[in-house]
Symmetry: D2
Subunit: 253 residues, 4 copies
């Protein structure tokens, strides 16, 4: 059974900061957000977690293996190097969306995202080392079948993006509603979903649903492990098998 | 009349590189992509353009004011500092999507995005300095009404994201189909659209369409100028007027 | 005759900030400093200037070609993305050290480097576009003869560094005292000197002085141009000629 | 007794790369080097080590607490994100310079720093977890007495730098020769020395030597611990005591 530790990373009071005293240059905000995300990705990734940029001001991470000290160090280090600070909420549950709900609640209870006095919250519980198992994290890595041949080399770059974005929007809703999974666009034609214990048939159904609804053909490799990096790497290898064999769903375990 | 110069930034042969010889760590790919975007954002932004991360392997920029030399320097500088290279296509048209189509075509004609021998293409035409006017770029900056109160402080962080993502997906399609506009999610609850000559009524219609279709309430500030930075800053100021006055559409010109 | 525009970049009140309220983690300070330098290097370098990290809290740049607006944009962009701010002083003179003295004075007159109320000074004068010539900047690029064979592959990495550092310390003093040049270690075994109008014999003398005094053998390529980038690239090409021909001083003009 | 684990980080074949096929823009090289250092500093620092930029192409790190896996991950992550690769040599010894000599040797034995076929060496031995003690690392953090009042606010920025550089050059040689310590300039007026078991009298002697030889007045705080971060933070606190009390040497243990 999965047991996903999820961390919500929220920039404190970010919206008001971006327009105080005057609206700041958009290019600087974009640079700040994407570099902040890159730093968090390196920090979490080097500890075998995954972090997704999501809305940039609210990022979602799978952090099995990261303890309270790790979270505190991330918070301190960002506070030392950026003009903004982070609040972090952590929770664990067999259902990824339940874990995230609890992680979110622990930040929300401390105050609004736009409360200037609510700073650097670090709350919630991490999974005890002794409770961790090799099935805790299930990662599904989707991509679009022949996206380069069908879209990138054929359509203009925005219409290609619309196709991929449609596939993503439909998949994210379906996986959330049907399974409590959290799905994230990660660039190119790739979507990574953090899932509970799902079977091959669940993935076949998801792919069929997206194809029927918005006519975007996906395939998926799935892995599981005690952390996101190992589960995700297994998923990538499984996806390579799909590419070689022409299959649509491959589980590697 | 608008005359938008659009640059397509495409990472050469990126998909194959990410899995050669083995799939690379996801955290490193995420870091690489977001830092590459950040660098391009600084470069383009310091010359008063806007660049959007889009799919990260294909980014779309509004580059009125950047010449061929600027594009060549960007290409050289990234090639010196990253393990990947960039191809750049540039075109100008009153319709943003037409400009992008032409910019895309100039890269596509040189080879596939996954052709290992197609490297560092720089093609297309920039707008001559003498042909530039103060109406060349129209930027619309949308956000979600009370996103913090309605979503961020109320729902879990993924369900908040789904709401905003739905609003974005609907708006991007509508603006593309109805007007040839290019709309980009830029973090938080913000969407920036690169538009042709639109009127207030066009924006009211777009907002009404999104609200009716997916029940997400947007507002928008719009600016125009000879480059994206000045038009975008006017749009931000107009959006501040919406916030103060409770209006849904404000044009600043 | 040279006419070097020099900018002093000083982090405002940096020392006190690093220990307030408690000393900050050294790794974070090192990261902050080196990334700040990298960003300034990209900004100045993309406008064909050179910037040297020097003490990191006080960096020295050759900025021929950068106007007041460029300086203001750099200041604004850093202020938007870092927890610290910059003061900038600019001056031009045939003598690099005189230019720097005047640039420094324009910041010093506004207050102490550790005055918490002195923020984001931007003062001094830039060289008018019409006054610029192709001889304004002379750049000398030195390296250590066979540093890899003599030091890197033979000594431990600190003793190699001591040798190179000794060569640098002696050269920097000599060039400053004899010629008012500003010399900077730029990594590896490389030193870049910003010089007034010097002749080949001056460089032979400098190299002989360093070899006699600390027994470190240097060679040098020298270029001149209307900006640092072009002069510096000419110097690099001249240094390649030294490598091929075994010569010690090559001027490329 | 100290037992310092030292890692030599060497960029593979960097010199030739910087001029192939043509010399690369200096600003790009400076950006690449300083960002590479920043990333290594974050990686090592988050594991409670210290890394010094030294020559940038050869960086020296104190890595007590980092295992072989940590080193391998750093190597892989940099290889995924930069156009250059790293070789790493690790060794431990009561004498910092002996540790570094052994770390250097393990890389040198694999080939020259400019051998194009020598790539991503990872060699040497890490200190077993069971052998670590609370006295393994001794860090001394020096700064210049009233550097702002004496130099920064009085002299031009290069002459200030010469003074500080002179103090550093003299201290680095003295500490290396007398004690086998490794001293690094870390920006501003700060020097950090990695030391064997030294006493207060050793530091008084070092300070006296520098003051007599080059007339630069230093003070120092010293800490020791099982890793560089904790030892270095104790040293910073001790240096704050110097500032408050006017003392020249403070040991915190």
């Amino acid at each position: 059974m999965t047991n996903t530790q999820v961390t919500l990373v929220q920039i404190d009071n970010y919206g008001p900061w971006t327009v105080t005293p005057e609206p700041r240059r958009e290019a600087d905000l974009q640079t700040l957000q994407s570099r902040l995300y890159a730093d968090i990705s390196q920090f979490v990734g080097a500890r075998d977690g995954y972090v997704f940029f999501t809305r940039f001001d609210n990022m979602i991470a799978v952090t099995n293996g990261l303890g309270v000290d790790d979270h505190a160090l991330l918070q301190e280090s960002i506070g030392n190097r950026y003009p903004v600070t982070l609040s972090l909420g952590v929770a664990t549950d067999p259902s990824p969306v339940t874990a995230l709900s609890n992680a979110t609640a622990s930040i929300q209870e401390a105050g609004s995202a736009q409360d200037n006095d609510r700073r650097e919250i670090l709350d919630g519980d991490v999974l005890a080392e002794g409770d961790r198992t090799d099935d805790d994290v299930q990662i599904a890595h989707f991509d679009v079948n022949d996206a380069t041949g069908e879209y990138t080399d054929e359509l203009n770059a925005f219409d290609s993006f619309i196709e991929i974005e449609q596939g993503y929007a439909e998949l994210m809703r379906y996986m959330r509603t049907a399974h409590g999974s959290l799905s994230f666009f990660v660039g190119g034609d790739n979507i990574i979903a953090v899932c509970p214990d799902l079977e091959a048939t669940d993935y076949h159904d998801a792919i069929a649903h997206v194809e029927e609804t918005v006519d975007v053909a996906l395939k998926v490799g799935v892995g599981r492990a005690r952390n996101a990096q190992v589960a995700g790497m297994a998923a990538k290898h499984a996806l390579e098998v799909c590419r070689e064999d022409g299959s649509r769903v491959e589980l590697e375990w």
